[in-house]
Amino acid sequence: MAITRGFTGRDRRGGDDRLPPGQYDTGAGWPTLTAELTPQVDVDTWTMTVDGLVDTPTTWDWRGVHALPGSTYFGDIHCVTTWTKFDTTFTGVSVDTLLEITGVKPEATHVFATSTTGYTTNLPLADITDGKAWIVWEFDGKPLTPEHGGPVRLLVPHLYFWKSAKWITRLELRDHDEQGFWERNGYHDRGDPWLEQRYQGDA
């Protein structure tokens, strides 16, 4: 494609290999993109369920998830609206820990994540296992704020951030894929930032 007359770009880190194609460094900012009003989720009534194709469907409450062995993610996050935030720290519990407790049936291939608001997103099981996904409640050592998905969100940092469902309440393991909210609305089924899988139809 032709170059844009007069455009040279700005703020570029010389060939920063941590920036996926088409992304820019948002610096200290953390933009939000949401399709609905931010709910006030009460930690006294919030629960987290893992069910579907598991051996022991399990529901944890706020104290229950905090009693599990904790885990911290340190690294970058990438939003489909083209910002990347470097060196974030999120604390919570690894999804592996939840799945160890519930067990996973051999026929499970996908997971369908649901938020308290009814927001949904779909992921291949392989994208949330082996240290790739977390349920998190702290950002940079402080409670996650409601507009960023607090009190608890899913974190799948190697995929575009709409996969990291805010206000997470349920992961259902399935033997098939079914599109979630943004996927039905035109976004890609997987969302790998390094492959620029932004919209349906991208490779």
Binding site: A2, T4, G9, T34, A35, E36, L37, G186
Partner: protein, 245 residues
């Protein structure tokens, strides 16, 4: 937040990048620029959708950002209205550098959620540049005679921070300025202030859906007052852009 049954959604266009040729450039006030573009291989849009504009430097570096469509679907040109942000990489370029005849890489129309198909009684509440998708909806409503189904309230600090203010007023939109008093038709003045719940109540009467577009702070403020005006939070669709710091 499920899609209402029977609602006609735009096709999930698996669109690839195409070329838009800029046909008109109009600077609006000090901070806005209106671009009207001829899009090659264009797909029809539904009011509320957006395009992605991608800029490409000689060394291959690219920057892309989303911009809502302001035009009616039958307009031969696609219109966008861009607010020039301080140090904004893309908005600054579109505002300062782009001229008639330039070609831009674009992709769209995109989005199947923040759209209005002309059938659902709705209230749109905009802050500043957040009016853009609603201008497309209003133009569409005018052409199709569905104006009774679409009400608009728009808020900005001052009138020149609200693009399309005249057109919106002509449409019957309610305008709230937060830093400027505003003469009203009856000769009185609306004192500079944020939207009051009382101002939204009559507009919210009988609606089935509300659309809110603006900055993060604006969206959460409007969410609260819509609640006070009796609008259920699951009837509210949100589009927000801008930093949260």
């Amino acid at each position: 937040m499920t899609d209402a049954p029977g609602e006609v959604l735009p096709e999930p266009v698996a669109s690839s990048w195409t070329t838009a040729t800029v046909r008109e450039v109009e600077h609006v006030g000090a901070t806005f620029v209106k671009l009207r573009m001829e899009v090659a291989d264009r797909h029809d849009h539904v009011p509320g959708q957006h395009y992605v504009i991608r800029l490409r430097a000689p060394d291959g570096y690219t920057a892309q950002r989303s911009y809502s469509i302001a035009s009616d679907p039958t307009d031969p040109l696609v219109e966008v209205m861009i607010e020039c942000l301080p140090r904004g990489e893309v908005s600054g370029f579109l505002h300062d550098v782009v001229e008639v005849g330039d070609e831009l890489e674009v992709r769209g129309p995109i989005g199947r959620w923040f759209v209005w198909g002309g059938t659902t009684p709705s209230l749109c509440v905009a802050g500043g540049s957040g009016v853009v998708p609603f201008v497309s909806m209003a133009r569409y409503a005018r052409r199709t005679g569905t104006e009774p189904l679409m009400r608009i309230a728009a808020s900005a600090q001052t009138r020149d921070r609200l693009p399309y203010a005249d057109e919106l007023e002509e449409y019957g939109a309610f305008i709230a300025l937060t830093r400027e008093n505003q003469p009203l038709a009856d000769g009185s003045e609306r004192v500079a202030a944020h939207l009051y719940p009382d101002e939204l109540v009559p507009l919210a009467d009988g609606i089935e859906r509300a659309y809110v577009c603006g900055s993060v702070g604006f969206v959460s403020f409007v969410g609260r007052i819509l609640g006070e005006a009796g609008v259920r939070s699951d009837a509210v669709r949100v589009e927000q852009f801008g930093p949260t710091g």
